[in-house]
Amino acid sequence: MIYHLLWLVPTIPLAGFLLLVLFGSSLSRRGAAFIGVGSVGVAAILALMLDINYLVAPPPEGIYTQSLWTWIRVENFTPDISFRLDALSVVMIFVVTFVGFFIHLYSAGYMFHDKGYSRFFAYMNLFVGSMLILVLAANLLVLYLGWEGVGLCSYLLIGFWYHDPANGRAAMKAFIITRIGDVGLLIGLLLLFTHFGTLQIQAILTQAPLRWAMGAGIASAAAALLLAGAVGKSAQLPLQTWLPDAMAGPTPVSALIHAATMVTAGVYLIARMHAIFSLAPAVMTLVAIIGAATLLLAACSALVQTDIKRVLAYSTMSQIGYMFLALGVGAWSAAIFHFMTHAFFKSLLFLAAGVVIHNLKEEHNMFKMGGLRKSVPLAYWTFLIGSLSLTAFPLITAGFYSKDLILYAAFTSARGSIWLWLAGWIGAVLTGLYIFRAVFLTFFGVEQRKPEQHAGATMRVPLVVLATFAVIAGFIELPRTLGNHPWFTTFVERLLPGSPIVNSSSSSYVGLQIASVIASLGGILLAYLLFARKRSVVRQVEQTPVGAAVARFWLQDWGFDWLYDHLFVRPYIWLAHLNHGDIFDAIYAGIAWLSLVLNGLFSTLQTGRLRWYAAGVLIGAVIVIAIAVFV
């Protein structure tokens, strides 16, 4: 039975990590790349085989659980290391290993001249292994293990070029902020354990509706805590400030971790624990609101960035906002579908940007680029395809199908509302605007710098493959008006039931679709008008005081960094300064001081004089005799 090989999928990348850690320094570049890329490749092939087998011959009830061994055995608490293959994790492992493999292949070329080559692949393999553990976990403790693992790898990889202290700071910022979310997640896990006595996901999902009433306070508490973890890891409001700074890491890292996989762990968590969220409508609304707010906020911030990677980072934040929006209105399959397409086109965008950065020798500022359409044609075409997919260009891109599904669910679902739909619609316009601003600034116009080196085959092949998928991946979910073959939704809804639709009719459906098309095309048109030509309008707006203030506000991520700095960081530093003398240190220093004092005291007793010692003997004798006589 091929399902028995499930445990190999996360283990092979971990084995790759171990090999690279132990022997990496003595391997050649080819050897390290072979192990690094190869382990993920083998995992990808295995995942593909498992997925095909799942489609052809699904296990009973659609869930296959493989338990490896008992991890902890304490009285009533016996979690084991177990993996679970169902519709959701099938999609996840496909995306993670597939996209992961191509990004590894890309980085074999991109990082070739870096001194930490084998270290890079070791960390990346560890990341892929942890992410697979996270998505394959059958109980929440193993999920938490994977969660922490990806957080660690994010830290290690953001701060990969550790000689620059700014990178270390960015890595720490990411880690600390996600940690805040992790604490919420941990408390949520403890809460769930207290109430259900087990952390097995299947058990919790089946028992939750039986034990907790709809809208119960305890369900809301548990859901809110899980949401905290998801918000931290997925860089949503209010814990979103780390993602733009995480661009300090190498481009493949940004592509893999901060676009395709780790930041979607929050989405996965909410989808996985959907039963608990379904029991807490207030929290679901909160999820949708967070998603809507983040997507607008991030889109505005992306509009004024100068660093091409930061544009893409804010774009990721915004698209995950879409996924949260979908989750909040109960459209689980729509969120997962958007996750899949987003993984393809966002990693494509990052890798293409990486080619540009690599060819211009680490130039990130878009305003210093231009006219690269002719000099770097592959990057241009793939970036264009990715941008079209991101903007949900109608009919031929994958993004169109997934974003359309989300907007439709936001409008028609029982928990949706017109305001959420409107937020999503405005966000679509802004998406087209900001990404095509990036396209026009980078690839059109006057060429300011010529590319100094060119990308090799290992960097080109992944671009082509991902571009292909960015186009065709949408065709597995054809909406009603275009053929009505919702294969993906049907597949996922076996596990994640859809939410009831309230106000829909075929006319509203067509109307919504036309609205989406208008949004995406309108965004592209606006970008063309404002940025492809003389940019004079934009410059005039920027020079007005209001315009300049707004631009600065958006550039600084809507002031969240400033807010957190004043709200949390400074008081904490002030408190730390209060303890400058460090009372705990003083205790230990005090012990040393005491023994020194006693030393001084006792050494005055050693006079070296005979009569003094005789007196000591006498005193001792007096005391002893007194004890003997009187006691």
Binding site: A615, L618, A621, V622, A628, V629, F630
Partner: protein, 171 residues
């Protein structure tokens, strides 16, 4: 008899006090000899004539004489008397006196159970002592002789003067 006993005890105590309070070492030694003689008389009265004789012959006659010889050998000059004036201060007796007083008090208190016991009206002859010494305590006698041998060797070695020799390494 009792009167003599008490008188001689007083002499012993007074002369001992004089020993420890003299400035001149030879004066102290002479007073010590007086004290030892008084103690010898006490021994005789208590019925131990043999050790009375030993006290006089060995203790007062050999050991104290040895003291005197060594003091003369030291050839102390006039400045030693000045040193002694510097060193000897009556206030030095306060602390030791207090401690010794406490010790004495404890010792006397420890003896509260000896209320009724009295010494006995016999005199133990030298023959008896000799029989006991070379009979039961023979091993002790041999050990004492070894002790004396050790003392002899040590005294010889330690008392040497190193003429024409480099001073040995600093102690």
């Amino acid at each position: 008899m009792y009167f003599i006993l008490y008188l001689v005890s007083a002499i012993a105590i007074i002369s001992t006090v004089m020993v420890i309070t003299r400035l001149n070492a030879v004066h102290g030694l002479l007073y010590l000899i007086v004290s030892l003689l008084a103690v010898a008389v006490i021994f005789y009265i208590l019925g131990a004539p043999f050790v009375a004789a030993l006290e006089v012959i060995i203790y007062a006659g050999a050991i104290m004489v040895l003291f005197v010889f060594v003091i003369m050998m030291l050839n102390l000059g006039a400045h030693s008397a000045q040193d002694e004036h510097r060193w000897y201060k009556p206030r030095m007796f306060i602390g030791p006196g207090f401690l010794a007083l406490i010790l004495l008090a404890e010792t006397i208190y420890a003896m509260r159970y000896t209320g009724g016991i009295r010494t006995n009206l016999i005199s133990i002859s030298p023959q008896q002592v000799g029989m006991e010494l070379y009979g039961t305590y023979l091993l002790g006698v041999e050990l004492s002789s070894i002790l004396l041998l050790a003392g002899l060797v040590a005294a010889y070695h330690l008392g040497r003067r190193h003429y024409h020799a480099q001073p040995r390494e600093r102690v």
